[in-house]
């Protein structure tokens, strides 16, 4: 069942080299066609469209689980390197110029948006997983809302208990002012994405500063509340990072569909008005 494994660095070097060779080859071909006064825009345009269609096929492959269509990991490698080559072809095709006209601008935006979201996706899928692994606990994304509700209910129960036991509202006031909204919804998205722990440290420090106003019973409850703040922070972290790992595709894929639609229309229009091209 074991398949040959190529070391990641070796694989990247091989893939990168092949992509570079492909880019140079396409560049040389276009240059030679240009020098021979032959069309280059149709050549690079069709090449780009075919590349985009191939790149879009990966999503279809993901839906076809069983037919023998190569492993998804192989498809992803091809997707990444063909995508990188397509950026170079796109630059050559557009002639290093900004688009003109509404249609061309939209087409340009769809391509750059798709390519940029793809590169962003590549970056986060390679860098975020180790951050998640370093957290103590693995949490299934779909379970987070339920776990968050449980943490909030526990926190609320503790606050009710603190009022009952100490007959003061120090903790409940703090909860209402600073923690109620924190426990209610996912918070601090950008902090979590950038691995910052400032908000949770600040919140725990604020709670700690209340100690001087708390009796022993309240202090014990505050200690439990501190744990719940950290537990909620951990849930928010997983929500933010796992959500980003899943969510970027919701930008990449719709942009791809838009790109394909505009690219096909673009090809039809170009051929419809190609009287000047021999």
């Amino acid at each position: 069942m074991a398949e040959p494994v190529i070391a990641i660095t070796k694989r990247r070097a091989l893939g990168g080299s092949l992509a570079l060779v492909a880019i140079v080859a396409i560049g040389v071909l276009m240059l030679s066609r240009g020098l021979a006064l032959r069309d280059t825009a149709f050549f690079s345009g069709w090449l780009l469209l075919l590349m985009c269609l191939f790149l879009a096929l990966y999503n279809l492959r993901k839906k076809l689980t069983y037919p023998p269509l190569m492993r998804s990991a192989t498809w992803l490698q091809l997707h990444v390197y063909v995508g990188l080559v397509s950026i170079a072809v796109f630059v050559m095709h557009s002639g290093f110029k900004w688009p003109t006209g509404a249609f061309e601008t939209l087409l340009w935006l769809f391509y750059t948006g798709t390519a940029a979201s793809g590169l962003l996706g590549l970056y986060i899928t390679r860098t975020f997983p180790p951050f998640l692994t370093r957290r103590d606990e693995e949490i299934i994304f779909e379970r987070i809302p339920r776990l968050r509700r449980e943490v909030r209910e526990q926190a609320e129960a503790l606050i009710v208990e603190s009022v009952k036991q100490a007959d003061t509202t120090t903790l409940s006031d703090f909860y209402a002012k600073s923690l109620a909204t924190y426990f209610a919804t996912p918070r601090n998205y950008w902090h979590h994405v950038f691995e910052s722990r400032v908000p949770v440290k600040r919140m725990c420090a604020d709670l700690k500063r209340l100690d001087r106003y708390l009796c022993d019973k309240e202090k014990a409850i505050a200690a439990q509340l501190d744990e719940l703040i950290r537990a909620k922070d951990n849930l928010d972290y997983h929500w933010a990072v796992q959500g980003t790992l899943k969510g970027w595709l919701f930008i990449h894929i719709p942009l791809t569909y838009g790109l394909l639609l505009f690219a096909v229309v673009h090809a039809v229009l170009v051929h419809a008005f190609d009287g000047s091209v021999s």
Binding site: V5, K62, Y66, P130, L132, E138, L245, K246
Partner: protein, 603 residues
């Protein structure tokens, strides 16, 4: 229950063994006459029906857990290497056990029928929108099935675990191969059936023969309630196990048959640990105790090596002292040996002998064949090439125990001193042994540093399995590896032990542990027995009314079925989870053969 559809709850003997055959022509109910005849012959005539409980009467076992099979001359009865789920008693005629390994093609090994790419594609597109939808007409207790039962034989109902026995061994080959004849009254196949292991030899009919095939659940119950049969089977189990192990041991393959027989005479068959170890292991996990304290010691570090140990079945932990504790550095499985390095060294250096360099413990249960030192030195050692004798670990030749990092001895598949592409991280070894994941032949390991938690693996699994994934992407984590809650297709599948109908079984080819949905009665025994919590009970629906759960009208409870990973056995290309992972973060790892996976584990 609102929105429910009633359906009779399945029971153990709904589908007698005699009807559980792929070929409708071979299905024949056990009649009262058959049972009466069986009760008049050995070993059944010595059994006291009073020893059997009311719920499992002797006649009931014979009627429902046995079947009479007829074979023509040369018909293959069992194939070497197949995983057996039954034993055989020769009622009439003779059978010949082939003592040589035959070409699997010649003995017609059954190959699991795979779906074509088109069938796979269609099944993905046309799958029901609700989870766990079944065609209940296939169930014996189904209304439609009842109608079909009246004309049984005309319609084919496929039950997957049976081995087709219609292929014959080529007569020339049959005559040339070294073989032994078994006469009427002899029992065979019980070793593989009870041990959940592969058949050790091919058996063919020698002339026309009539055999009683006993489903292993029936054999287990007969053994349980009849003391004489239990002793008889246990004795044969040991004797045959010993001979088969010695014949299969690579160290002994240069010995003549006579020499092997001599070794077999002096060798000792030992069993450590408990056959049903999963119960104690589950309790151990709950109590969070040190597992080493509960594992029987087979041989201790520092003791004199009094013989070579060959692991016949099960797993054993290798550890050595580190400070006030012990570090696990490797494990041994079927066919591996313990003590070879020390015995070879001591034979060469009789005045500078070394003791055993590690402690061997039974993980779960272990069958061991013990070959005494003298016999080993006289008969086996001279035939072992020098380069096949492993070196002693560094600490066994020095007085002080050196730092472990410099002296971790070879692990399975390589030295484990430091982690390189050819070595396994010592901590990972300890983790795998500690959690008994070494039992897995297709353990789902996820590299969390690469896994983006996209759940493509889960979706792919659900796509091929009635919209419900057969695993949970969650499990125990060591460093950046997670062993997910997916069936590991254990070398010793203890989940099979309690199954009353034989629904959970190993495929003859490959030994994949699968569940026959038709014969599963939803008792949950396998799910409770799985030490790794990898079997789930699910409530099922009828494809004619998928919005409603099927409910047993008598108990008012949903009809449940056991489900688990089947390694996408019916599909081409291997497990969908592994193929669907875009980041190469998920592997199904055979713990018996870690070497091919080391580059991935250490990348």
């Amino acid at each position: 229950m609102p929105g429910a559809q009633t359906f009779e709850k399945p029971e153990r003997w709904d589908l007698p063994f005699s009807q559980d055959l792929p070929n409708p022509d071979e299905r024949r109910d056990m009649t009262e006459h058959d049972i009466g005849r069986l009760m008049s012959i050995e070993p059944f005539c010595h059994m006291d029906p009073a020893n059997f409980p009311d719920r499992l009467p002797l006649r009931g076992i014979l009627a429902n857990d046995t079947r009479i099979r007829r074979y023509n001359n040369g018909d293959v009865i069992v194939r070497q290497g197949d995983y057996g789920n039954s034993a055989f008693l020769i009622l009439n005629g003779k059978a010949r056990v082939i003592l040589e390994t035959l070409d699997p093609k010649l003995v017609g090994r059954q190959v699991t029928k795979k779906r074509t790419a088109w069938e796979s594609l269609v099944s993905v597109i046309t799958r029901p929108r609700m989870p766990e939808v079944r065609d209940t007409s296939k169930y014996p207790q189904g209304h439609r099935e009842r109608e079909q039962t009246q004309q049984r034989g005309a319609n084919e109902v496929a039950f997957v675990q049976d081995v087709s026995n219609v292929l014959r061994v080529d007569s020339d080959l049959f005559n040339k191969a070294r073989s032994e004849v078994m006469q009427t009254g002899q029992v065979f196949g019980e070793l593989a059936a009870l041990g959940r292991i592969q058949r050790s030899a091919t058996v063919v009919a020698d002339g026309e023969a009539v055999l009683l095939e006993i489903r292993w659940q029936g054999l287990r119950d007969l053994r349980k309630f009849d003391e004489t049969l239990r002793k008889h089977i246990d004795d044969r189990f040991r004797k045959r196990g010993l001979a088969a192990t010695l014949r299969a041991a690579p160290l002994l393959n240069k010995l003549t048959e006579g020499a092997v027989a001599k070794v077999a005479q002096a060798a000792i068959f030992e069993t450590y640990g408990s056959y049903d170890w999963y119960g104690s292991y589950q309790q151990l996990r709950k109590r969070d105790e040190d597992p080493l304290k509960n594992e029987p010691v087979i041989a201790s570090e520092g003791h004199y090596p009094n013989g070579l140990l060959i692991i016949r079945a099960g797993f054993a932990r290798l550890s050595h002292r580190r400070g006030n504790g012990e570090q696990t550095y490797s494990y041994l499985g079927k066919g591996q040996v313990y003590g070879l390095a020390e015995l070879a060294y001591n034979a060469k250096n009789p005045h500078k002998m070394v003791p055993l360099s590690s402690t061997l413990r039974a993980v779960g249960y272990v069958d061991v064949v013990h070959i005494p030192t003298k016999l080993f030195e006289q008969m086996i050692l001279p035939h072992i090439p020098a380069d096949e004798i492993p070196p002693l670990p560094a600490w066994s030749t020095t007085s002080d125990t050196p730092p472990v990092a410099d002296n971790v001895p070879p692990a399975r598949g390589g030295s484990a001193a430091t982690t390189s592409s050819k070595q396994l991280n010592p901590g990972l070894t300890e983790f795998l042994v500690e959690n008994r994941f070494i039992n897995g032949t297709a353990t789902m390991v996820i590299d969390l540093d690469r896994c983006t938690r996209c759940d493509d693996c889960v979706r792919a699994c659900a796509t091929g399995h009635t919209n419900n994934p057969r695993f949970i992407r969650h499990g125990v984590v060591f460093d950046h590896f997670m062993v997910a809650n997916a069936c590991m297709h254990c070398a010793d599948p203890v989940c099979m032990i309690g199954c009353p109908t034989g629904a959970i079984h190993r495929t003859a080819e490959g030994g994949v542990v699968v569940i026959n949905d038709v014969t599963c009665i939803g008792c949950g025994t396998c799910a409770a027995s799985c030490p790794y919590d990898n079997i789930r009970m699910v409530d099922i629906r009828d494809e004619d009314n998928p919005d409603a759960l099927l409910v047993d009208p008598r108990a008012g409870k949903p009809i449940a079925k056991a489900t688990k990973c089947d390694l996408c056995n019916e599909h081409h290309g291997g497990p969908a989870c592994q193929r669907a992972c875009p980041h190469d973060a998920l592997k199904r790892v055979d713990m018996r053969e870690l070497e091919p996976h080391l580059p991935w584990l250490n990348r």
